[in-house]
Amino acid sequence: MLSSLGIKIRGAASSAIVGACVLLGGSGHASADVDISGKKVIFVPIAMGISLTEGWARRMREHADIHGYTLDIRDAAFNTGAMSELLAKAITEKPDVLVVHNPTVQLLARQIKQAESEGIKVLQVNLQSNQASSAFVGANWERIGREIAEDIVKECGEGSGKSGKVSIIPGQLTAADSVIMNEAAFKVFEAHPEIEVVSNQASDWEPEKARQITATVLQQHPDLCAVFGHWDVHTMGAGNAVKDAGLADDVLVYATGGGDDVACKAVEDKVLDRVWSYDADGQGRDVGTMVDLLLQGASGADGAMMEVESPMKIIKAGDSYDPDLCWKM
């Protein structure tokens, strides 16, 4: 439902962002009709110290510097308990915009609702909650899940001469991206009975757990055709298990991620084969622009959530491989 809602307003939001970019690009200095200097923005990511959030923060800081508003980052350091507390504290500080990176669809839903009811605009980044808010900027997980599944069907399905066996490694089964991607992928696989999902076990986003799961699954299914990891970082553990088993040429390793240079290096090293990148650097700019707009009073039609879908870059090993598809911090 959120996806269809997004489609309806995506055009309007994108136009507004393009307009804002033109405004910003027109002069070397920031300018806006509404003065947003001195306003307060708080960003609560799942964790800093990973390229994804560091990439977003770098672009958000640029926007904050241009417009003169403050950006505070509260690092939850992968601790969901700490994240709820940080968000509760942030709400009491009454920022103008709260930027939230949801670890699961449920965890922060009540607090997002509370913040919105108190007049704080909440921008959700990349991972959506069940609770709608003022805006969302991020990847279209349904599209990624569907496209990767379709690619797997093409490579492993009927007529491919492969077993059709697939191992899925979500981060967490309740994380928004994993929920949506799995739903989309299974919908595709249902129409292709030759595809058999032999394993669907979460790695808690850890490369070592992904490696152990994959090494075990490969023993049981040496004819495995593809591994679909829900994040490039933990999927590298799975890719290393495939490589160590000497099956790098037989098993395709799919992943999604922010598309920094580490992902390209992994493709070059044959640890990953195909990465659906949502370009964290570009997302960071979209987030910064959306914050600017929210601070200027932008809102969706009839209070609907404004939504910006991140364009995809598909990084594939082989002749079409282009290292420029990745960004560097």
Partner: protein
């Protein structure tokens, strides 16, 4: 005299009961998985179990020696990740592998020495000293050395990584060899050295060991430096295999509890003084077989936690039934 001997034998029987129960549960699981799970009873899967358990076994060697001496090392996983981080930074900077390893060993020995000094000379309880040093090490490495990074990736093309994650001989992985070496060194330390006798004496009755003039302080240094080096070996094996050093391994906390669980479940009581290498193998065998079987059956992580908890409760309840508490076993920390 004969009466005393029979009492001692009865005590040994009781002490061994948990081990027997854990072995019985492990064997039962192996039989069930072999029948039910396709691909479980194969040589390839046995190799996977060994390679997936290598770091857990090596860590358990360090923790077992510490616990037998009536200590506890909560910094073990932090030191493991710190060691892997140090080594990775050095080899990523193209430092010769031997020099990188030497410097890393030196750094980890320093951490072990710091732990031992706090415990043996400042006389801070081991649990608090190692908890504090774990926090210090993680904080220092994450913010001062890695500048906030959570993950450090290793290139699988690096010769050191290839060597650590490859096979020494066809079918014999380096991680399995390091694991066996760790078990042998632990066995020698506990059973073949003078320090080993002191370690058991310290665990049995620390004050008596000290009063009889045994070198408890220098032995404490041996114990915590050994644990730090074991942690380093585990870190190298784990990070070379997965191609990443991941600080969430420390912050998640599950690995540390798993290590303590392996040691205690294998039959080494938290009050120390008893146990050995066999107990480590028994404890790891149960956890490794359980984890492998459930992964092959495609159980979700949540379901795996539920079943792991159930099996452990069954083992502990069975032990309590066959081995009721008495004045000898009813000690703080004992199962």
């Amino acid at each position: 005299m004969a009466e005393r001997k029979s009492m001692a034998e009865a005590g040994r029987r009781k002490r061994n009961l948990l081990e027997i129960i854990v072995v019985a549960v492990t064997v039962a699981l192996i039989v069930i998985f072999s029948v039910v799970v396709d691909g479980f009873a194969t040589f390839g899967n046995f190799r996977v179990i060994l390679s997936n358990s290598a770091s857990l076994v090596i860590l358990s060697c360090g923790m077992a020696v510490v616990i037998i001496s009536r200590g506890l090392d909560l910094s073990l996983v932090a030191v493991m990740i710190a060691g892997a981080t140090t080594f990775t930074i050095f080899i990523n900077a193209d430092m010769p592998v031997a020099l990188a390893l030497l410097l890393t060993v030196g750094a980890m020995v320093m951490i072990g020495l710091a732990n031992a000094w706090l415990i043996a000379y400042v006389e801070i309880p081991a649990m608090l000293a190692t908890l504090a040093s774990a926090m210090l090490v993680v904080g220092l490495f994450r913010f001062a050395i890695l500048q906030g990074e959570f993950l450090l990736l290793l290139s699988k093309t690096n010769p050191a990584v290839i060597a650590l994650s490859g096979d020494l001989l066809p079918g014999v992985s380096v991680s399995a060899v390091v694991m066996v070496a760790a078990l042998l060194v632990t066995w020698f330390l506990l059973r073949g050295s003078a320090a080993g006798r002191t370690i058991y004496a310290m665990g049995d009755n620390f004050q008596a060991a000290r009063l009889t003039g045994l070198p408890v302080r220098t032995t404490t240094i041996t114990v915590y430096v050994f644990a730090a080096l074991a942690a380093l070996c585990a870190g190298l094996v784990m990070s070379a295999a997965s191609g990443a050093v991941d600080f969430r391994t420390v912050t998640n906390g599950t690995l540390l509890f798993e290590v303590i669980l392996v040691v205690v479940l294998g039959g080494i009581p938290l009050r120390g003084g008893r146990g050995g290498v066999l107990n480590i193998i028994i404890g790891v065998a149960l956890i490794a077989v359980l984890r492998n079987g459930m992964t092959l059956m495609n159980f979700t992580a949540q379901m795996q936690d539920v079943l792991k908890g159930l099996v452990l409760i069954v083992a502990i309840v069975a032990d309590n039934y066959f081995n009721p508490r008495d004045t000898e076993t009813d000690t703080v920390g004992d199962l």
